[in-house]
Each structure stands twice: as C-alpha cells, then as structure tokens.
C-alpha cells in the first residue's frame, strides 16, 4: 500500500477532490460565471454596440484596483483575494447592466461604489447584504439618469419595419431602454401581432437567449441551482399574464420575459449566493419576491427598469427569509 494511498484516507482535501468539491471552489465558480457570460457578451458586442467590450475592460480593471486598494488598506493579503475573482465578476455584471455608452468615469464611480460601499464596508466577500453590482446600478441610475438611460438604438431592421419606422428616427431619441421602447409604441400598435416578438428588438432577444443559454450551462455545471431563476421567471410571468388579462394594453409576457434585464438577472443576479437566500425554499421565496417587485416597479414606478431595485429590496429581506426558513430536521 503506497504512501499516496494511505494519504487518501487522512486527507479531507483529497476527499473533497474525489467528490468534485475542490473543483467547485469559490474562485472556480467565479471563473465559470464569467465563462457563461461570454456568448452573450460576444453577441452584445457584435449586434448592439462594441463599446461594451471597452466598458467591460474598464469595469474589471477598476473593480480589481479598488479591491486591491481596500485589501491594502485593510492590511489583508492582496493577491489571494484578487484571485478569488469576485471583484472581477462584480465589474463584469455592472458593465453589462449599464448602457454601453456610459462615460468611463461614471462606470468607474459605479465600480468604486460596488467594491467600497456595497462590499467592503460590510466586511468584504461573503458579508455584503446587497448585491454590489445592483447597488452600483441603483446609485448610477439615480445619479446619472441621463447617461444611464441612453441606450443605443440598434441597427435592427426587423424591429424597425415591424414598428413602421423604417427611417430610423429613433436615433435621435434618448431615454429609451429596450423595454421602454415597448411602452413608447404600445399605444400605436396595440393588437398588432407582429409586434409581439420583435418589439424589444430582435438583437436584444438574441442576446437574452444567450444569457439563457449561459444560465442553463451554469445550472448544468451545478454552479447555480434552479430555484431562484425559475421562481423569478414564473412569478414575473404570472404577474404580467394577470396584467394582460385585466388590461389588454399591459406588457405581454413574451416581452416581459425577453426584454429588459429579465433573463440576465434571472441567471446572473438573483443567483448571487452572497446576497441571496441560501436554502432551496429561501431561494424560491427570494426569486418570487424579485419577480413581483420587478413587475410592480415596471408597471407603476417611474424608473425604466425595476429589476435592480427589486433585487435590492429582496436582498434586505434575506435575513428575514433565513430566519423564517427553519430546517425540517430529519
């Protein structure tokens, strides 16, 4: 019996390896999240705006620099924590949540808010009660409403023709998120079936499906669990469905689920383990809450997209969910 064989029995690290646990270590999770985002990012850069790549680079560098600065100030080992990848993920998620043309300095402020205010003020990785990227998004949209709602009008011939706007006069317009665009023309085209799929812009639909694909891959790799995304999509879909029944001018389910931040958020934001609920039942509740709140803010609020605020509100409810969810002890 070899030394290695005997070691196998004493070493919990090797046991972890044999069950695939080390392979699931925190830094690996972070890398896989970024990997899952890649197809969406590529399509985003190709179909909508290549500036998103610049934004991603700036955000990741800024997030890492802020992280390094804080670790240095807190007298902690800088390199090991940069390696865990959580700061980079925050930067990536933030850069994908904001319009690609956002001025770099505003994006950098956002990264600072995410890393300093949302994460390290509460004690760093694992201790932040709120999703850092969403805190930064909220601060940015409150502070810079002009640039934060300046989404590029896509070179999206299908949508233009469908909306009877071949001249592309939208280029002159600002303050339109892909979701808001539906609202803008809902009145004109009510009852028009062509509208249903193409309205958020086919390009955006393609990207939303790429997020969905990445999310399914993460599910398959067991990086995330199904509870929160499914609960979110079901509750948001139900809310929009009921709204459509009551008022025919309400946003159809297809647009609600494919437009805006829905799919991106379902698989990459509400699945954030740190600021979300940690138990299966808790995650169901968390996801459903985000769905309902997103619907309410979209429908009745003044903000173009309610997802970030819904996530932040439910983040605040996580301690309560944790407390209420008692284990069914076997």
């Amino acid at each position: 019996m070899s030394e290695q064989h005997t070691r196998r029995a004493v070493d919990i690290g090797l046991l972890r390896q044999s069950t695939g646990a080390t392979w699931r270590a925190t830094p690996v999770i972070m890398r896989q999240v970024i990997l899952a985002l890649l197809p969406g990012i590529v399509l985003y850069a190709y179909l909508i705006d290549a500036r998103v790549l610049l934004g991603l680079t700036i955000a990741v560098i800024a997030a890492l620099l802020f992280e390094a600065m804080v670790m240095w100030l807190r007298k902690r080992p800088v390199t090991s924590r940069l390696g865990d990848g959580s700061a980079a993920v925050t930067g990536v998620l933030l850069a994908l949540s904001v319009p690609p043309g956002l001025p770099a300095w505003q994006l950098i402020i956002g990264c600072g808010v995410a890393i300093l205010l949302a994460k390290h003020v509460f004690g760093g990785l694992g201790h932040n009660p709120f999703n850092p990227a969403m805190v930064a998004f909220a601060v940015l949209i409150v502070s810079f409403p002009v640039t934060m709602t300046d989404w590029p009008m896509t070179a999206d011939p299908v949508a233009r023709v469908a909306l009877g706007d071949p001249a592309g006069t939208w280029d002159a317009m600002t303050s339109q998120t892909p979701l808001d665009r539906y609202r803008a023309h809902a009145r004109i085209t009510t009852g028009d079936t062509v509208f249903t799929l193409s309205s958020p812009g086919t390009a955006w639909v393609v990207i939303a499906l790429a997020w969905l694909g990445g999310g399914l891959w993460l599910l398959w790799m067991r990086v995330i669990t199904w509870h929160a995304p499914v609960a979110l999509l079901v509750s948001l879909g139900t809310c929009h469905g009921l709204a459509t029944l009551i008022s025919p001018t309400a946003m159809p389910i297809g647009i609600a689920l494919l437009g805006g931040a829905t799919l991106f958020g379902a698989f990459f934001i509400v699945t954030d383990p740190v600021s979300g609920a940690a138990t299966p039942r808790g995650r169901l509740l968390f996801g459903a809450g985000v769905g309902v709140l997103t619907f309410l803010i979209r429908q009745f609020g003044s903000w173009p997209e309610g997802f970030a605020f819904a996530v932040l509100i439910m983040n605040a409810a996580v301690p309560l969910i944790d407390r209420l969810d008692r284990p069914r002890v076997r």
Binding site: V142, P145, M148
Partner: protein, 206 residues
C-alpha cells in the same frame, strides 16, 4: 412644609413671569414683522402671477380679482383679469396630486379663449436633480405649454412621448412631468366648460 409650598409658588411665579415675557416678545415681533411678511408673500405671488399672465395692461392691479372654490372640482383660487372691461385672462392655481413625492402646486395662465399663456410651479417636493426640471430655473421644459390649447392639440397628444403624446419626459423621471401634463390638461378642460361662469361672477369692488 412651608418652604416646599414657598418653593412651588416661587417656581410657578418664575414660570408665569417668563412665559409672559416670551409671549409679549413674540407678540411685539409679530406686530413688527407681519406687514413685511404679508408684503413679501404677495410680492412673491404677484411675481409668479406676472410670469404666467399674457403681456399688457390690466384693469386691476395684481393679483387681480380673486374667487375661491367655484365648484367642487374647480381650481382654487382663480384670478380673473379684465382689459378695458372685457374679460381677457384668468390664472388658475391647481394641484397635481400624482407627483412622485406629494402635491405639485401649479399656476396656469390662460386667455379668454383657453390658450395657455404660461405655466409655473409654485411649490413641489420632487426629487432634486430628477423631478425638479419642472422648475424654470433648472430647465425650460415648463414653457412647452405656452400657446397650447385644447383646440390646438388633439386629446391623445396631451401625454408624454413615451405614451405616444407630445410632451418629452425628462430623462429618468416620467412621473413628475406626467403629473404636470395631466394637471394642465384637466385645468384646461375645466376652464373650457366653465369660462363663462368664471367671468360672469360679480367683480370685486376696486
């Protein structure tokens, strides 16, 4: 025992004395400042009224003929203006209740035909930097209403562009401008129905 009563009497007397002094001081101060306060309030109002009134000379000095609570749904107060004895303009003070944060109080000036001569915000508590673009000192959005009337624009256009209307929302905020547009529209509709009543009411003695 006697000292305690003495103390209590003493304390009560001190309290009464001080209270009296304070009351007298406040009354005195009010006597001195009240005229100035009234003056500055009316000055402020006249300044605002002048901003929304069509240009020219009027039969009566600002604030004009004032009537309160004409009907249940009427703007209040309404300031009426005559030029050479002809009913020529009115200013309605209305409240937009569906703002982002409490009531928005507006002054809406119209001529006798119901054409808007100006709209101004008297007071509001909208979010600074977002909703306060309805103030003239921050943006000239509010001047978009000038020269508009119910006849000049179809009903559907009295809405924000995001809902298919003619008014731009300012970026990031749709609730505040929507509330203002609705309030102006409501006031114009009311005036359209009641303008004869408004001007037929007896004029105040000058």
């Amino acid at each position: 025992m006697s000292t305690r009563t003495g103390n209590a009497t003493h304390a009560a007397a001190a309290l009464a004395l001080l209270a009296g002094t304070v009351v007298i001081a406040v009354l005195l101060m009010q006597r001195i400042s009240q005229p100035r306060i009234d003056a500055s309030v009316s000055q402020l109002r006249e300044q605002r009224l002048a901003e929304v009134l069509p240009p020219g000379e009027w039969d009566k000095a600002l604030p004009g003929d004032t009537i309160h609570q004409l009907t249940d749904d009427a703007p209040t107060p309404i300031f009426r203006y005559w030029r050479d004895g002809v009913a020529a303009a009115a200013i309605m003070q209305v409240i937009a209740p569906d703002g982002y944060n409490g009531d928005i109080v507006l002054l809406i000036g119209v001529d006798a035909e119901g054409v808007v001569s100006g709209v101004r915000v008297l007071s509001h508590r909208e979010t600074p930097g977002l909703g306060d673009d309805i103030e003239l000192r921050r943006s000239d959005w509010i001047t978009d209403f000038d020269t508009l009337s119910l006849e000049a624009m179809p009903r559907d256009d009295w809405a924000l562009t995001s809902r298919g209307g003619a008014f731009d929302a300012f970026t990031g905020a749709t609730i505040t401008p929507r509330a203002v547009v609705r309030a102006v529209y409501r006031a114009l509709v009311w005036f359209d129905e009641h303008s004869t009543t408004v001007f037929s009411l007896p004029r105040e003695r000058p």
